[in-house]
C-alpha cells in the first residue's frame, strides 16, 4: 500500500502543536524541507530533538515553532554560531527556550533506550563533567553486578521522527548509504515516522538490496518525495553540502530582521519545497553535484 503524500499532508496529518519531533541526520541527511513545512504551517510549542540543531534548528527557533530543545551540540559547523537559538537562550528574545542537554553519546543512548523499550540506558561517560549537574535527568547509577558507578539517561520517545533518506519504496522501506547517524534508533523510538526521500523507487529495488534498508515500511506512516530536501545539508551521492549557505547564514542569523526576511522569501512565500528547489536555481545545484563513485554490486544469490 502506498503511503506517498505531499510534505504538506504529512506534516498536517502527523505533527500537532505541542508534539516532540525528532528531525535527525548528523550533518548528512538533515531534512530542511520538513523543517520549512513546520514553519509554513505555523506549528507551535514543538519540542525539537536533534543532536545538532544546525541551521534548521535556528530557523525553527526564529520562526517561533519550537519552545523546547533536546540536544548535544549547538553550532553552525565550521561557520559560526546559531544566533537565533542563542538569543532565545541568552536573552529570552523574543521568548524563552527551554533546553535539555546531553553529550552525543547520551543522546544516542536515549534514542536507543526509547527504541528498545528500556527504562534507561547506562553509559560510562560524564564522570567528572558538570553536565549531570546542569541536567538532573543524567543520573548516577550503580552496576548491579560489580558496583561500578555509571550514569544513566532516560529513554527518548519522540511523538514524530522525520528521517530523510536516499530512496524509499512507496510503502516506506527507507534505504540509506553514507553516514547513518542515529536515524534508525530515532525512528524506532518514535510513535509516528515520516520518511522523506530523494526518490521513490519500486519495491523490487529495495528487495534486491535489503541490507541497505535502515527503516522498514511497517513502522512508517508517510512517505514524501522531496528531491533536494536536505539543502544546505547534503545527501551522499546526490548533492554536496552547500557550505556557502552555512557561511552566509552566520550574518543573517545575527540579525533578527534578516532572519525574518529570509523566512519570508524562502519559506512563507513559497508553496512547497519544489518551489525552493527551483528558486535556488540550476546553477547553484550544479555546483553541488558530487560526481560518481560506484560500489561493486553484491550477489545475494537465488534460492528457489
Amino acid at each position: 500500500m502506498s503511503k506517498v503524500v505531499t510534505m504538506g499532508e504529512a506534516v498536517g496529518r502527523l505533527v500537532a502543536d505541542g508534539d516532540s519531533v525528532a528531525i535527525e541526520g548528523f550533518t548528512h541527511l538533515i531534512c530542511h524541507a520538513a523543517g520549512h513545512e513546520l514553519i509554513r504551517q505555523r506549528r507551535r510549542n514543538i519540542t525539537l530533538c536533534r543532536l545538532t540543531p544546525d541551521v534548521i534548528g535556528d530557523q525553527l527557533a526564529a520562526a517561533g515553532v519550537i519552545s523546547r530543545l533536546v540536544f548535544s551540540w549547538m553550532g553552525n559547523p565550521g561557520a559560526g554560531s546559531l544566533h537565533a537559538l542563542r538569543r532565545r537562550i541568552e536573552h529570552a528574545d523574543p521568548e524563552p527556550l527551554e533546553i535539555e542537554e546531553y553529550s552525543h553519546f547520551g543522546m544516542v543512548c536515549r534514542y536507543t533506550a526509547g527504541a528498545a523499550g528500556l527504562p534507561f540506558f547506562p553509559l560510562r561517560s560524564y564522570s567528572g563533567s558538570d553536565l549531570p549537574t546542569a541536567n538532573p535527568r543524567i543520573v548516577p547509577v550503580q552496576d548491579p553486578y560489580n558496583g561500578e558507578a555509571l550514569y544513566a539517561v532516560p529513554p527518548l520517545n519522540p511523538d514524530v521522527a522525520i528521517v530523510h533518506v536516499q530512496r524509499a519504496s512507496a510503502e516506506g522501506d527507507a534505504q540509506v548509504w553514507g553516514l547513518l547517524g542515529c536515524q534508525k534508533e530515532a525512528a524506532f523510538a518514535a510513535r509516528r515516522v515520516i520518511v522523506v526521500c530523494e526518490e521513490v523507487v519500486p519495491e523490487s529495488v529495495v528487495r534486491a538490496d535489503p541490507n541497505r534498508t535502515l527503516i522498514p515500511a511497517p513502522i512508517v506512516d508517510a512517505v514524501v518525495e522531496a528531491p533536494g530536501g536536505c539543502h544546505p545539508s547534503f545527501v551522499q551521492g546526490y548533492y554536496d553540502r552547500d557550505n556557502r549557505f552555512y557561511l552566509d547564514w552566520e550574518p543573517i542569523s545575527r540579525d533578527p530582521a534578516a532572519v525574518a526576511a529570509w523566512l519570508d522569501e524562502w519559506v512563507y512565500s513559497l508553496e512547497d519545497h519544489a518551489e525552493y528547489r527551483a528558486k535556488l536555481g540550476a546553477e547553484r545545484w550544479a555546483t553541488l553535484a558530487p560526481g560518481e563513485g560506484w560500489s561493486a554490486p553484491v550477489n545475494y544469490g537465488s534460492y528457489r
Binding site: F26, I89, E90, S103, F105, G128, Q236
Partner: protein, 244 residues
C-alpha cells in the same frame, strides 16, 4: 622556508601522533594535525570521526565532522551508537584529539557556557562528543590557541573533565596540549610546559597563561617545522581555512 606559529602548532601536534593507532578526531585543527600525521610520522593512523566514518582517507579538507569526503573511500561507516559504544566506550580508541576554547590547569575543558548555566552570558555549542571522548579515550590530546582568556585557572563549567582527585574514568584523560607557544604534558594531573616553540620565550608563555605555570625541569625546544611538513600541511589546507 619560513613558517607561521599556526603551522608550527599543527606540526608539533602531528608529531605527537607517532606510534598511535586509532585516533578519534575533532574537526578543524585536530583534523589537520591528524591528516598531517598520516602524511609524515604515522601513515597507518586510523581516523575515526563522531559522524561514524572509520578509517577515513579524505581527499579534500573536510569542512565539517560529517563531510561526505570522509565517507568516500573510508574503511567502514558505523552508526553513531556503534561508534560511541563499540569503538569509544569499548576501548578501541587510543587518542581522542580535541580542540578547545577554554582549558584549565587540570585539563578540564569548557565548551558549554560563559556565566551561570541557567543565565548564560555566552552560550557555547556544548559537548557534542567531547565529554564522552574526554572520559573514554585512552588518552586525550588538545590543540588550541593560548591566551589568558583560553588558559584559565579553573573553567566555569566542566564540559569535558580533566584530571581531578579520585578520577575513576575508563580513559586516562588529558595527556598533551599543543598551542602556538609550546607543548604541555600533565605531571601528576597538572599541565606542565615541556617544550617551548622556537621564537617563543618563557615570559611570553607565562603572560599568555592565567595561572602560575609549572615548567618541566628538562624544558626542551620544539624543532621547527621541516620543509616536508610544511609542504604537506599547505597542500592539506591550500586556502588556509584553519592555518589562517
Amino acid at each position: 622556508m619560513t613558517w607561521t606559529s599556526n603551522e608550527l602548532m599543527v606540526a608539533a601536534a602531528a608529531r605527537r601522533l607517532a606510534g598511535e593507532r586509532v585516533c578519534f578526531v575533532g574537526i578543524g585543527l585536530p583534523n589537520l594535525a591528524c591528516s598531517l600525521a598520516q602524511r609524515t610520522v604515522e601513515p597507518n593512523l586510523e581516523l575515526v570521526y563522531e559522524s561514524g566514518a572509520v578509517g577515513a582517507r579524505p581527499e579534500r579538507l573536510p569542512i565539517s565532522i560529517g563531510d561526505p569526503c570522509l565517507v568516500a573511500g573510508c574503511r567502514s561507516v558505523a552508526s553513531q551508537f556503534d561508534l560511541f559504544a563499540l569503538y569509544l566506550q569499548g576501548g578501541r580508541v587510543d587518542v581522542g584529539f580535541l580542540g578547545a576554547a577554554q582549558i584549565d590547569r587540570r585539563g578540564a575543558i569548557n565548551t558549554t557556557v560563559i556565566g551561570p548555566y541557567g543565565q548564560p552570558k555566552v552560550r557555547l555549542p556544548g559537548s557534542g562528543g567531547a565529554c564522552d571522548i574526554a572520559v573514554l579515550a585512552s588518552k586525550v590530546f588538545v590543540i588550541m590557541p593560548q591566551s589568558t582568556r583560553s588558559f584559565v585557572p579553573r573553567v566555569e563549567f566542566v564540559t569535558s573533565p580533566g584530571h581531578f582527585p579520585g578520577r575513576r574514568a575508563p580513559g586516562g584523560g588529558p595527556d598533551t596540549v599543543v598551542t602556538q607557544l609550546g607543548v604541555y604534558r600533565f605531571v601528576e594531573g597538572e599541565m606542565t610546559l615541556t617544550s617551548l616553540h622556537p621564537g617563543a620565550t618563557l615570559d611570553q608563555v607565562r603572560a599568555a597563561c592565567g595561572w602560575d605555570l609549572a615548567v618541566a625541569p628538562d624544558l626542551g625546544e620544539t624543532p621547527p617545522p621541516t620543509e616536508g611538513e610544511l609542504v604537506a600541511l599547505r597542500a592539506l589546507d591550500p586556502e588556509r581555512v584553519y592555518l589562517g
